[in-house]
């Protein structure tokens, strides 16, 4: 390619060229659309001529000089591209509107880590109607390098369509390859690896190419190749205008790597020496030496230093071919290496050889089409399992340039290589993968945006498979916890069945003074002897009130301190229902001579045996005797006047005796008890009426002694 100044053409010439390039109608339509667009919006290309810069001839001269120098360096290629870029950028400061200059700058940037800057220059070049279709190919590359794969594919397609049939035949494979890479990249980016990728930093990397890390088996020493200058007069390889390769090393101290040092010993020389591999025991370093076409050598670590490079066995070398990378199995009996020797699939391939029974290497064989492609394979790393081989390739499903792949030897064959994935791989060249002993860390070389210049060494930290987050989905699994079901917890209401009632009310009074008394009133069911209620009369008024179901026979016993108890039989008939019965109760003080009627002592007619319903009253009498141990009483029996006097007297006496026997039977001293039958001699009511006769049939007691 010629220089920018000599290449400029006028706009019409470019259009004609374009029209000639398009062979299909669709392409023509596209072009016409493109032209009408550029005609209206594009800026004008400015040549480095006086016509455009009539007032600054000095500046113009300087700019033209910068362009010429840039062109010269650009033609050299390799390491000179960066230097060319410098001149071009200076020229562009003077004239930013030159189409070819913009394209050159864009192209230069494609060879640097700042590929991101290339896009604007190439787009600008197109805007300025750069007179070459190649700009579309370059822009495609720029988009690819910048992960703008769809746009890249568009540019590559456009470029392909614009080629003459002859050009198309020549370039189709390369363009198709680019498009395929973009499609691979789109797939790989969709499933990124969980890794951290860190530049090893300025202590290891330099502004020049640093690459091919080789790790000691213990993981603590990293050997690598650098093209940084050495000494006062560093030598440059005229083939690529970069300094010669030398081997450096860095050591791991804690989590840090020491500043890189030139490897001591007898390995580095004035020509290329590059790291290629290391033996599993770490005692042999394999080195690529660039003179005489490039071959692999080995150096042994002895007495604390690396020894002189020695040729590998003849079987592993080949005259006139280049071997660049080599790895051995852990037993040392098999080797894999990269060579461009004949018999491969194209470019550099991976070959293998094994030792025979005599310890000699057999004729190497190509690893086969499963692994090797028509493109270059490079930079081997064999895992400690001896069957997992990592390598870089420009073929397979690379996303651009060299990608790192992994293949496994299984069942007598190498499996289809697997792209290690994004972001380990990128559209740029990714090479020299080497795994650390912990399997979580690896190193490789690449040229990325965050580098220090040229290719740099990066550390990969594998994070393993995606660790699923806990997704805090909130459920209400149990509905009742949020919305309790409607359950009627209450027992249902009851139907109330009413009973006819009688009110019994009255006052408890001192029999003598009629003062109200607070007395204990007990109410018994005479039939069942059950105590129905025990309550007090009101202290202030002596009043009481009882609501009783009618149609029953009750006994009321009333007691107050220092008073004789009072008992009463209450037969509430059905006719008493719903009415009030007033019944005042008069209590007598406990004094000699006082007597009271025991109203609730019952006998069958003509009999002296106590009926069971008498026991409640007898109990009260017993209690009186028990609580007043000095008390002596006389129990007297009385009858009505029905029957003979004798009979009634005997009956009354027997009944009085029954009461006394009851008390004695409960433990009351007989000495305190006397009894007497009075027959009908002491009536308290008229015997003429039934009521009166009932009142006369009674049992009394009288206090004899207190």
């Amino acid at each position: 390619m010629g220089g920018i100044i000599n290449k400029h053409r006028c706009y019409i010439t470019f259009v004609k060229g374009m029209i000639n390039s398009f062979k299909v109608f669709a392409g023509l339509i596209l072009l016409l659309g493109f032209l009408s667009f550029t005609e209206t919006v594009s800026a004008q290309n400015k040549e480095f001529t006086r016509a455009y810069f009539p007032d600054d001839s000095r500046g113009l001269r300087e700019a033209r000089r910068n362009v010429r120098e840039g062109d010269r360096l650009f033609e050299q290629g390799g390491g000179s591209i960066v230097a060319a870029l410098d001149y071009y950028l200076r020229a562009a400061e003077f004239n930013p509107d030159n189409a070819l200059l913009n394209m050159r700058i864009g192209e230069c940037y494609l060879s640097t880590p700042r590929v991101d800057l290339s896009v604007n220059y190439l787009e600008r070049a197109i805007e300025l109607n750069v007179p070459t279709l190649r700009v579309y190919y370059l822009l495609g590359k720029a988009y690819q390098q910048n992960y703008r794969f769809d746009e890249a594919i568009e540019q590559f397609n456009f470029y392909r369509q614009s080629l003459t049939p002859q050009e198309a035949i020549q370039q189709r494979a390369s363009i198709d390859r680019r498009i395929a890479e973009c499609n691979h990249a789109k797939q790989l980016i969709n499933e990124p690896l969980r890794v951290f990728i860190d530049n090893m930093g300025s202590s290891v990397n330099s502004e020049f190419d640093d690459y091919s890390p080789v790790l000691s088996p213990d993981g603590n020493t990293l050997y690598f190749t650098s093209r940084r200058p050495l000494g006062r007069n560093p030598r440059m390889d005229k083939n690529d205008n970069k300094y010669f390769e030398n081997i450096f090393m860095t050591r791991k101290v804690g989590e840090q790597w020491t500043t890189a040092e030139l490897l001591e010993g007898r390995i580095n020389s004035r020509t290329h020496e590059a790291t290629s591999g290391i033996s599993p025991d770490g005692q042999t370093l394999y080195v690529y030496r660039g003179d005489k076409g490039g071959d692999l050598f080995e150096s042994h670590f002895n007495k604390g230093r690396w020894g002189k490079l020695q040729k590998l066995p003849r079987a592993l070398r080949s005259r006139g071919t280049q071997e660049t990378s080599i790895v051995f199995t852990s037993d040392g009996n098999r080797v894999y290496f990269v060579s461009d020797r004949p018999g491969g699939f194209g470019g550099k391939d991976i070959w293998t050889s094994s030792r025979n029974e005599r310890g000699r290497w057999n004729e190497p064989v190509n690893l086969g089409s499963a692994v090797n492609t028509e493109y270059d394979e490079e930079s081997l790393y064999l895992a400690p399992d001896d069957v997992t081989l990592y390598f870089s390739s420009q073929g397979h499903n690379s996303m651009g340039g060299f990608d790192i792949f992994r293949t496994v030897f299984r069942n007598g064959r190498w499996a289809r290589p697997e792209n290690l994935g994004y972001p380990v791989n990128s559209p740029a060249d990714d090479l020299f993968f080497v795994m650390g002993p912990d399997d979580n860390t690896a190193w490789f070389s690449s040229m990325r945006k965050d580098n220090y210049g040229g290719s740099d060494i990066y550390q990969i930290t594998f994070l393993g498979p995606e660790k699923p987050l806990f997704i805090p989905v909130a459920n209400d699994f149990i509905a009742a916890a949020v919305r309790p079901p409607n359950i009627n917890m209450m027992e249902s209401e009851m139907e109330i069945i009413s009973v006819p009632m009688t009110i019994l009310r009255g006052k408890v009074l001192d029999d003598n003074t009629e003062e109200p008394l607070e007395a204990v009133i007990e109410l018994y069911d005479n039939e069942t002897e059950a105590l129905l209620a025990e309550f007090n009369s009101a202290p202030e008024t002596g009043e009481y009130i009882i609501s009783l179901p009618g149609g029953k026979n009750y006994a009321i016993a009333v007691q107050a301190e220092d008073y004789l108890f009072h008992s009463e039989n209450m037969n509430i008939s059905e006719s008493d229902v719903d009415r009030e019965i007033i019944n005042d109760i008069r209590l007598k003080r406990v004094e000699v001579g006082q007597s009271i009627v025991l109203n609730n002592i019952f006998f069958d007619t003509g009999a002296a045996e106590l009926r069971p319903e008498s026991y409640a009253e007898l109990g009260i009498l017993y209690k009186l005797m028990f609580e007043n141990p000095s008390l002596k009483i006389e129990i007297s029996g009385h009858t009505d006047n029905v029957g003979s006097a004798g009979l009634n007297q005997r009956l009354s006496e027997r009944r009085a005796r029954s009461v006394v026997d009851f008390l004695i039977g409960r433990g009351i001293d007989p000495e305190r008890l006397t009894y007497k039958g009075y027959g009908f001699d002491r009536p308290i009511a008229s015997n003429e009426t039934a009521e009166g006769r009932q009142m006369n049939r009674r049992t009394e007691f009288e206090i004899i002694e207190k």
């Binding site: 209400d476 009742a480 109330i496």
Partner: protein, 348 residues
């Protein structure tokens, strides 16, 4: 009969009313106490139904004082006590009711519910079982026992009970929802979907069933459907936090991170101490690679609930991305200790 009762009652009231201030209380004998007790009891029920719990309790107290063996009154008073939070009082009343009538199904049920509320699952299950022994048609005893089996992760028994409840009462949406949940827990997602769908068919206002159904759609990666179901739940129950939380997740899964953040922020605006929502927001921030923000949310969630294992697990993942492997390690250890099995795998 009624006239008779009325007269008697009026008499008692009259005398009681006029004399009460001068004399002792009227002593009532025999059936009239029962009548009074029953009336108080009935009044207690009416007052309870009017949500007048204090007054209702007084009525049941009176019923019991008038008739100390009135076990139904004890039971009802227990229900009121349970409602007012007097758990021990309720339990004692239910015990008395059960002692008086060992066949009293509702008393077992009510006691079971109180015990369930106290977290005594086994005792509650025992009471619900006893309830059903007394009356096998009490579908809600099946239902509540099923919920307890759910809590004990005995999903087969839970399903059995929910099914029994449904067999007795086919329109019981709660049982369908919960059976769906049990089936979901067993991984029977299609059967769970069917149950949740039946629940919303029977009770179209059951927002929680829509939410649960949405969760399954989320699990099945049917994010659009999940999103719509959560939206329905939110519309049915305004401010339904769980559904908002879940819709945030659905939006996140759909890549609509702004909407996801909007949903979850609306939950957090109302309650900034909702540690589950904070965990969800942490997850969304993680997805948009705002690792610092995610870590902050998880840390706050942990501060609010130091035993919330998911926040530790997720913060560990974020810390790994923040190049803090030591911190991640500690978080996963904590999550593992709190019972998240996969945290141990992360440690490996």
């Amino acid at each position: 009969m009624m006239k008779h009762f009325f007269l008697s009652f009026m008499m008692v009231c009259l005398f009681t009313g006029t004399l009460l201030s001068q004399v002792a209380d009227t002593v009532r004998i025999g059936r009239q106490n029962l009548m009074q007790a029953e009336k108080a009891y009935n009044d207690g029920i009416s007052l309870f139904n009017e949500s007048k719990l204090t007054e209702s309790m007084q009525m049941f107290n009176e019923a019991i004082s008038l008739r100390p063996d009135f076990f139904q009154a004890y039971y009802n008073r227990g229900v009121v006590k349970a409602e007012t939070g007097d758990v021990n009082g309720a339990l004692e009343d239910f015990r008395i009711a059960i002692d008086a009538n060992p066949e009293f199904a509702m008393a077992y049920f009510a006691r079971g519910k109180v015990l369930m509320g106290q977290g005594d699952k086994q005792a509650a299950i025992s009471d619900f079982t006893q309830t059903l022994a007394c009356n096998e048609r009490l579908y809600f005893a099946h239902y509540y026992r099923g919920t307890l089996y759910m809590k004990k992760n005995d999903f087969d028994k839970a399903i059995e009970d929910f099914t029994a409840a449904i067999n007795i009462r086919a329109d019981f949406a709660h049982a369908y929802n919960d059976r769906g949940s049990a089936r979901k827990q067993k991984g029977e997602l299609q059967a769970a979907i069917s149950d949740y769908q039946q629940a919303v068919l029977l009770d179209p206002g059951m927002a929680l069933a829509y939410n649960n159904l949405g969760s399954i759609r989320l699990e099945l990666e049917q994010y659009n459907q999940a999103h719509d179901l959560f939206t329905t739940a939110i519309n049915l129950s305004q401010g339904y936090k769980k559904a908002l939380n879940n819709r945030a997740i659905a939006n996140m899964k759909l890549g609509r991170y702004d909407m996801a953040l909007e949903d979850i922020n609306s939950v957090l605006d109302e309650n900034p101490e909702n540690y589950i929502a904070l965990t969800t927001r942490g997850m969304i921030k993680y997805r948009i690679k705002d690792y610092e923000g995610a870590a902050k949310d998880y840390t706050l969630a942990i501060r609010l609930n130091p035993d919330y294992a998911p926040a530790y697990l997720n913060r560990g993942i974020v810390r790994e991305m923040l190049r803090d492997p030591g911190g991640a390690q500690l978080d996963w250890e904590k999550a593992a200790n709190l019972g998240i099995v996969r945290a141990s795998e992360y440690l490996e």
